[in-house]
Symmetry: C2
Subunit: 269 residues, 2 copies
Amino acid sequence: MSVVAKALALLEHFSIQTPELGLSRLTRLAKRDKATTYRHLVALQELGFIEQNPETKAYRIGPAVLHLAEVREKTVPRRDGALAPLQRLADATGETAHASILSGPTLHTLVSCEAQAHSIRAVIDLQKLPLHATASGICTLAFGPADLLEAAKADMARFTAHTATDPAALAEVVGTAQGSGFGRSERGLEDDIYGFAAPLFDQTGQLAGAVAVASVASRVTEDLTRLIYQELIIASREITHSWGGSVPAAIEALWADTLATFKQKDLAP
Amino acid sequence: MSVVAKALALLEHFSIQTPELGLSRLTRLAKRDKATTYRHLVALQELGFIEQNPETKAYRIGPAVLHLAEVREKTVPRRDGALAPLQRLADATGETAHASILSGPTLHTLVSCEAQAHSIRAVIDLQKLPLHATASGICTLAFGPADLLEAAKADMARFTAHTATDPAALAEVVGTAQGSGFGRSERGLEDDIYGFAAPLFDQTGQLAGAVAVASVASRVTEDLTRLIYQELIIASREITHSWGGSVPAAIEALWADTLATFKQKDLAP
DNA sequence: AACATCGGTTCATATAGTGAACCAATAAGG
DNA sequence: CCTTATTGGTTCACTATATGAACCGATGTT
């Protein structure tokens, strides 16, 4: 890990829940030496990526990121295009919806929308989504670059008792996704949370990210699952379209098959 | 300069005009070794601050900054509060308006608004504003922390024939600002651009940034100057208010005096 | 075919980062 | 009032890490 990576990794500890962190606390969170952490903070501060609250001496994210985000979004608009479909997805399903972008080997959370329907709901507050333990990640492994699977196998941290931590289990869920067109994660990241995801594509025709719904386990029924799948398809088409891509026919075919199985079940009894 | 600083400084070369840069070009812009630049890019890429266009191999700002900007803005809202008053300022004056934030010893551009009134107008595309050569910078030196003057004197780069490059000249324009309540820069950063700025304050009561109007030199008359001053006062009050601060009485008094001199001149002939 | 780009890699060299120990300041506890 | 445990910040011997000239293969121009 380079110094640059170590320093920038400090930024990941700041969140909406904990926007300001003191030196000691951050040192503990980052599990690094205090002097090192301090020097990194000073370096980040010089560039405006961190600023210090002059009253409390605590550190927070600085203004430099605002300009960068503006350049990025004006240049490669992703957030704007995802926002409206995501809102619709959250409203239609009554669950928390979020979209993520694949950049290199990591999946970055782009934006998340919470529905107002239930008082208990999933909250997405990770910047990076683990590939092996989230619906979005499994979806990415299923339809993204083949070499990602290696990267994912290298880091299979356990989050819950249900997290797939051996390559065989992972291969199985990825295979299921490749058969259905949807990624699923059942209590893989957190107990009581079910995830459902569909792939997103950009103008290059390659997978560019994923759109997902996170639902509370106790609410998940077959009816809700079907609704989520239907809405995920709509959201995926719209977001993919706004990113200048189109959903590959093969994926559309998988989706149609998966939805058909629900209809069959309806007719069965 | 630490490695962290060197690596992060690479990000400053990306702009709306040049959102993607190849390795060689970026190496030349940053005036550094190619191998070093490459390694820095790879490190930034790992963290999602940079991503590579898989088709052209060119680099661009990555998605990680989006999340950070969101955390920052949800936590310390600055952009949102400045946007509306800035738009109004641009419309009312017919010139380009922008706001900046002081973080440590540097002034970061927060957001800029261009008016539609004229086809020739100033464009703000710097992330960092030089303290000695811009109206905002002079305003910051006049009403901000006293030790900034030292930092400013340490780097007095020449941009035009009118740039103040010796401490005495700088002290004079800062003194003028302290007397009038407004920062001014006449062709200091670019030929043909006049800048006018007013200070901004936050909940701590300290200077937190500046709001400014950049006008094309040929359009600047006494009438326009007065209009700009009047509108700057309104914008400064509004932005300062939305940042949880209030304009100090001493500044308000300076502004009142400055506007009074215009009225006297009107009566004179 | 010769030359000039490009992105990316190698490896000896030496510069830059590291962290245990140390301050000074503040605050809680007895 | 003195002790103890925090806090943010600093020092300096040690060594891990960054550096850059030279190199590579690919692509593009003349």
